[in-house]
């Protein structure tokens, strides 16, 4: 579990709470006893709903100690989405800091999941309960982590990592990147993201480096980022382009010159933004990191000496072999596939010991992306004459909203279930802040405001806020190809010529499209 026999300290700069190593060890033992008392056994799955807190990391240690598998859950999900995930993953426990809302609790209870308040253990003292350390630790090939990347409204896609795949990622990062620059790491990212949890947090922390965590998605923290970096003497942080776009416009730069390395990942990084981040942070070591949840996140990046930044440049692989092939076919052995020449774009494949075990209960999906142990990333890229990887686009249809992946199929699934929907197509469109945002074309049985309002209310009950389409287009029909198929890019192109719905006119209660 530990990469280097000990963990670093944990800090919450906003609350001022700090747990040093001895306090973490004390609480770790308490939490092991807590879960033992409740009967947690090996291979039990546990939903954790309180990411980006000190308690989250200690519970992770305790659950792993007992051989359990954790699934960090986005706290913004609706009760319906939590139920959907729980139906797929059948967790033994759903753990909250405090109580969940009654509807979520009811839905979880109906599935046989025990809802537990993590704060309860604060009432247990070491004298009352001593941990009975298990004689055997979890096997390396047992499931350790499930990260849900899509399907919260239908059939969830849960990426399952084992202890072995996670350890492979951490050790390869340590060998490629060292530890020195990560000694005071700040995490602005949510811990239910692979990027945030596996790499930004656990890679340094489980190697003994100090970790500073703040709540994710807080723009006021971005505005105060320079001061936060100075106050905590941060040496490393990772983030996504949209955070930097906001920081560059609203935050004063740090003045303490503590930052030694900065990563940007999860979404395309332009050369201009790259240079602007270098200037703001005061370090040349701003690296574009390429990672996918399925590969344990960071698998390549700009760790090349004297690199000149370029649009789409990633760099060299870390603990992975990256190949660009002319084919994305999974029905023939990869040894028969043709490799692209230098500078020739093609499909990016990755071979890494950090590859996931597969998608939870979805062997059909796993077979669509894994062949002979190689992973088809869905990205289009090239390798130049120096052997450096560039990304040029992607085949996957996900919408990359500032690093948060939104799957149009998830939105379609919710809208289709609305009784007045005739047809729907969600799509991505260019957005100045996030790079991409969510749009939706919908055909309704009737177009009067009352129907739009009902749909809006329906979607708000079933979709998390970050999944909600920003631009709505109510059409007479969804454009289709001559073969009757819906092409999301074509629908987006069609809608770009139209004015989006002004939702304020329909809602009149502060509900708006945000496009004004």
């Amino acid at each position: 579990m530990f990469v280097d026999l000990k963990v670093g300290s944990l800090h919450e700069p906003l609350t001022g709470r700090r747990w040093d190593r001895s306090e973490i060890m004390r609480r770790w033992a308490l939490r092991v006893a807590f879960y033992q008392d409740r009967g947690l056994t090996r291979s039990d799955r546990v939903f954790l709903h309180f990411g980006n807190t000190l308690e989250f990391f200690v519970d992770l240690l305790a659950i792993w100690t007992l051989g359990g598998c954790i699934a960090p859950i986005d706290p913004r999900l609706t009760p319906f989405e939590v139920e959907t995930l729980a139906t797929a993953a059948t967790p033994r426990f759903s753990v909250w800091l405090g109580a969940p809302d009654t509807e979520t609790e009811k839905r979880l209870a109906s599935l046989g999941t025990s809802v537990v308040d993590a704060a309860e253990s604060s009432r247990i003292t070491a004298a009352d309960k001593a941990a009975r350390w298990p004689e055997e630790s979890a096997g390396l090939d047992e499931d350790a982590l499930i990260l849900f990347t899509s399907g919260t409204t239908g059939r969830p896609k849960g990426v399952v990592h084992t202890h072995r795949s996670l350890r492979a990622r951490w050790i390869s990062l340590r060998q490629a990147l060292g530890l020195e620059k990560y000694r005071r790491t700040l995490c602005l990212l949510p811990t239910h993201f692979g990027h945030g949890l596996i790499c930004n947090c656990l890679f340094p922390w489980l190697s003994g480096q100090d970790l500073f965590v703040v709540p994710p998605f807080r723009p006021d923290l971005v505005v105060e980022l320079g001061g936060l970096i100075d106050r905590c003497e941060i040496t490393f942080l990772s983030s996504v382009p949209s955070v930097w776009r906001l920081a560059l416009r609203t935050a004063r730069p740090p003045g303490g010159h503590t930052l030694e390395r900065v990563f940007c990942g999860s979404a395309p990084l332009s050369a201009q933004l790259w240079r602007d981040i270098q200037e703001w942070t005061g370090t040349r070591e701003v690296w574009n990191a390429y990672g996918i949840t399925e590969t344990g996140s960071w698998l390549a990046g700009s760790s090349v000496k004297d690199l000149v930044v370029e649009d789409g440049l990633i760099g060299e692989p870390w603990g992975s072999i990256v190949k660009v092939l002319r084919a994305a076919a999974l029905d023939v052995p990869l040894g028969l596939a043709e490799e692209c020449g230098s500078g020739e774009p093609g499909y990016v494949w990755v071979n890494t010991p950090a590859l996931m075990r597969g998608y939870l209960g979805r062997d059909d999906l796993t077979r669509q992306v894994v062949r002979d142990g190689w992973f088809l990333t869905g990205d289009i890229g090239l390798v130049d004459e120096r052997g450096l990887l560039f990304l040029r686009g992607r085949e996957r249809e996900e919408i990359n909203k500032g690093g948060m992946k939104v799957y149009p199929g998830d939105i379609d699934a919710v809208v289709e279930r609305f009784e007045e929907t005739l047809d729907v197509c969600a799509f991505g469109f260019e957005d100045a802040l996030h790079g991409e945002n969510v749009g939706m074309a919908v055909v309704l049985k009737a177009r009067e405001p009352v129907h739009v309002r009902r749909l809006l209310e329906w979607m708000r009950r079933h979709l998390a806020k970050h999944q909600m389409p920003l631009r709505w287009y109510v059409l007479d029909e969804i454009p289709r190809s001559s073969r009757g198929k819906v092409n999301r890019a074509s629908v987006a192109e069609h809608c770009a010529r139209l004015a989006p719905l002004d939702l304020r006119k329909f809602a009149g209660d502060g509900l708006g499209s945000g496009d004004s």
Binding site: T250, H434, K465
Partner: protein
């Protein structure tokens, strides 16, 4: 106020003069990004984050309006000594 009400702040957003926009988490990054655009259009100049404490000044609607009025009055953004922390 109309501009802010046009942002997608969720079904519980009930704005008053005292409503905290930033510190409360009511504004997400999209809303803040649009707000910066809007304020820059109102004052006719880019916001200089080194010159003001934006979280403090932009946390409420009256704060934002006062900020804009001051920038318009000064004629040049960020030149007022009082804006410096």
């Amino acid at each position: 106020m109309a501009f802010i009400q046009g942002l997608d702040l969720g079904p519980t957003a009930d704005l008053s003069d005292e409503t905290s926009l930033l510190r409360s988490g009511l504004f997400d990054s999209t809303a803040l990004f649009h707000l910066v655009d809007w304020i820059e259009r109102q004052i006719g100049a880019p916001v200089d984050p080194t010159a003001v404490d934006l979280v403090r000044e932009w946390d409420t609607v009256p704060g934002i309006l006062s900020f804009i009025a001051r920038q318009r009055d000064s004629g040049a953004f960020g030149a007022d000594e009082d804006d410096r922390d």
